[in-house]
């Protein structure tokens, strides 16, 4: 029971923020935080596929980017953002199934998989940057090469393309969506399918010998993470109003990985908190122009890998437990015999 309450605490905080934020924050902050939430949603996708299923997807940004571009093109063509969000979520699923069946059926190791997925996102990057020629267009929307697509309509009331949502409403939706993604992934993880995915991460051979179709579960988890990432991409594009090939580039791909490592692999709260923290940091740094973000991010990744390889959340939890154990003698005795 206590565990259920503890688990509900984080999404509850997000929901609370979704409704109180518009009354206390400036519009500028609201827009920023909406974008951060969209990014955090995508990061959750990676936290799931890597932390639960053990698939090291270094090119997670490719699904984010596909979702972002799909939203941009659909909403610019048809005007209705609901459809665009839907397509921006579905298209990455289709793409992940195609890519996943290539990857998982050849039983690539961790590292190979990471490298290949990273290559895929880099290929998308170089392709998108080479689409400056107006010949590259989908419907009436030119892909725009390095500049990407601009003046993308934001979210509107479903069915009424003229009724755009206010900054405040968009903020609430983004935070609620983040809470929703968190709850969805937590439920999946604790479901039977999720337990089997954890089992596959732990020991592929044993899972196979117990009769589980590893490739099926990997595809399933991969597609789910792609959908979440694509969904995050659609929201991000809706908030920012533009999309460029940078959604596919190396810094973008590395950000997702960084947040998940920093937050703690295998956890969900950690990556979300880390994503907000690092985005805030990079905002500040960007305003300062003193340090560039790559320098800081690179150093941070190295430090985390060397000093706190399990990430912040497990570290904080352990420290909190230690304190608790210290204070009460009952807990103290329980520590030893394991």
């Amino acid at each position: 029971m206590l565990r259920h309450i503890k688990n509900a605490l984080f999404p509850f905080a997000l929901v609370l923020a979704a409704f109180t934020g518009p009354f206390v924050l400036e519009p500028f902050d609201l827009v920023n935080l909406s974008a951060f939430s969209a990014m955090a949603i995508a990061a959750l996708g990676l936290a799931f596929v890597w932390g639960t299923l053990g698939i090291l997807n270094l090119g997670h940004s490719v699904f984010f980017g596909v979702g972002a571009y799909a939203y941009a093109i659909t909403v610019s063509t048809f005007g209705d953002s609901t459809l665009a969000v839907l397509i921006g979520t579905m298209l990455p699923i289709v793409f992940s199934l195609v890519l996943g069946s290539c990857l998982f059926f050849s039983r690539l190791g961790d590292v190979y998989l990471g490298v290949i997925t990273l290559c895929v996102t880099l290929i998308f990057y170089s392709f998108m940057t080479s689409t400056a020629d107006p010949w590259f267009h989908i419907g009436p929307v030119p892909l725009g090469g390095f500049n990407g697509i601009t003046a993308i309509p934001s979210l509107n009331v479903p069915g009424d393309p003229q009724a755009f949502l206010s900054t405040e409403a968009t903020f609430s939706i983004c935070l609620l969506a983040l809470a929703g993604a968190y709850i969805l992934l937590s439920l999946v993880r604790s479901s039977d399918a999720g337990r089997i995915m954890t089992a596959i991460r732990e020991n592929e051979l044993r899972s196979e010998l117990l009769g589980y179709d590893i490739r099926f579960y990997k595809l399933l988890g991969f597609a789910l993470s792609a959908a979440i990432a694509g969904f995050g991409g659609t929201l991000y594009t809706a908030v920012m109003g533009f999309v460029s090939p940078n959604v596919f580039d190396l810094p973008q791909a590395s950000q997702f990985v960084l947040w998940v490592i920093a937050g703690g692999l295998g956890t969900f709260v950690g990556p979300v908190v880390a994503s907000f923290a690092f985005q805030l940091l990079s905002c500040q740094l960007g305003a300062n122009q003193v340090f560039n973000t790559e320098l800081i991010f690179g150093a941070t990744i190295v430090l985390f890998v060397l000093l706190a390889p399990q990430g912040l959340q497990p570290m904080i939890v352990r420290m909190a437990n230690l304190k608790l154990t210290y204070r009460s003698g009952i807990f103290r005795r329980k520590e030893k015999p394991a």
Partner: protein, 287 residues
């Protein structure tokens, strides 16, 4: 006829380029099973070392063949000492750490030299074939690459260091019981790999110019080449380069460079689908 010669040249050039940018990575990955994500940045640093040294008045050939390998080898030594050595055996962790290193190096170079392209002019002039002309420097590049590959093959199979390195790579524990200092072998290997990458960057600088982000353009292709090559150290990535290079060259020529790169990746994915441990599993029996 002229077009045919040019095409052949493009194919050979593409194979040589793949081999050149993969050699340093292949040495480090093949010997140490370390995935060095900072490989592209080692190339980038090699390029910068040559350009900066040349602008400072050092002879171009001297900067290429001496300054760059030394500078990058030194950086490699520091990285090995501070990061890689602590993580041996943890494949994924090493990969993440070197990725962090790669971002750090990009950031550092951007902070110092700015986000602009620097360059040196390509030496050696042009050779004309009918209506076409090709840079003599590119021919020179092909020759140097071939020489490098031959040298590394010889070093690996005919020198004492090569023997020790192969022993450590086959079975580190066994080699250690025979008195081989594996830590030192690994450190040396990493430095040699880094220096080779630096040399590759130096050689490429006159053609492509140097930019903090240039590593990204090479690292994907280098990885794909090395990984689809598989376990056999030199022959593996060489054969992969021979398969992938022509495809990239021809499709780049007849379509666009982006199509060429995309098909290179696609082909690599297919190769790995057929031979999950790389093409060299055909003659090493897989591993």
């Amino acid at each position: 006829m002229d077009q045919f010669v040019i095409l052949c040249f493009a194919v050979v050039n593409s194979i040589a380029l793949l081999a050149l940018i993969s050699l340093g990575l292949a040495v480090i990955f093949g010997m140490m099973r370390v995935i060095n994500f900072a490989h592209g940045e080692f190339i980038m640093l090699g390029g910068y070392a040559t350009v900066i040294a040349n602008h400072a008045g050092v002879n171009l050939w001297l900067s290429m063949f001496v300054v760059s390998p030394m500078v990058v080898g030194l950086i490699g030594a520091v990285a090995e000492r501070l990061i890689i050595r602590r993580l041996y055996g943890h494949l994924v962790t090493t990969m993440l750490a070197t990725w962090g290193l790669s971002l750090f190096l990009i950031g550092a170079v951007t902070a110092i030299f700015g986000n602009t392209t620097l360059g040196v002019s390509a030496p050696l002039g042009n050779i004309t074939i009918g209506a076409y002309s090709i840079g003599a420097y590119q021919l020179f590049l092909i020759a140097v690459t071939a020489l490098l590959v031959v040298c590394s093959l010889l070093a690996l199979h005919w020198t004492k260091y090569g023997l020790i390195a192969r022993a450590a790579m086959q079975n580190a524990e066994m080699a250690a019981t025979l008195g081989v200092d594996c830590d030192r072998v690994y450190a040396t290997t990493f430095i040699i790999g880094a220096a080779t990458s630096g040399l590759a960057g130096a050689l490429l600088a006159p053609i492509s110019g140097v930019l903090p982000h240039m590593g990204a353009a090479y690292v994907a292709r280098a990885f794909v080449t090395v990984i689809s090559g598989g376990g056999a150290l030199i022959t593996g990535f060489l054969s992969a380069a021979t398969i992938l290079g022509p495809v990239e060259a021809l499709l780049s020529y007849f379509a666009t460079p982006v199509v060429g790169q995309a098909s290179l990746l696609l082909l690599a994915v297919i190769i790995l689908r057929l031979f999950p441990t790389g093409v060299s599993s055909l003659w090493t029996g897989g591993r």
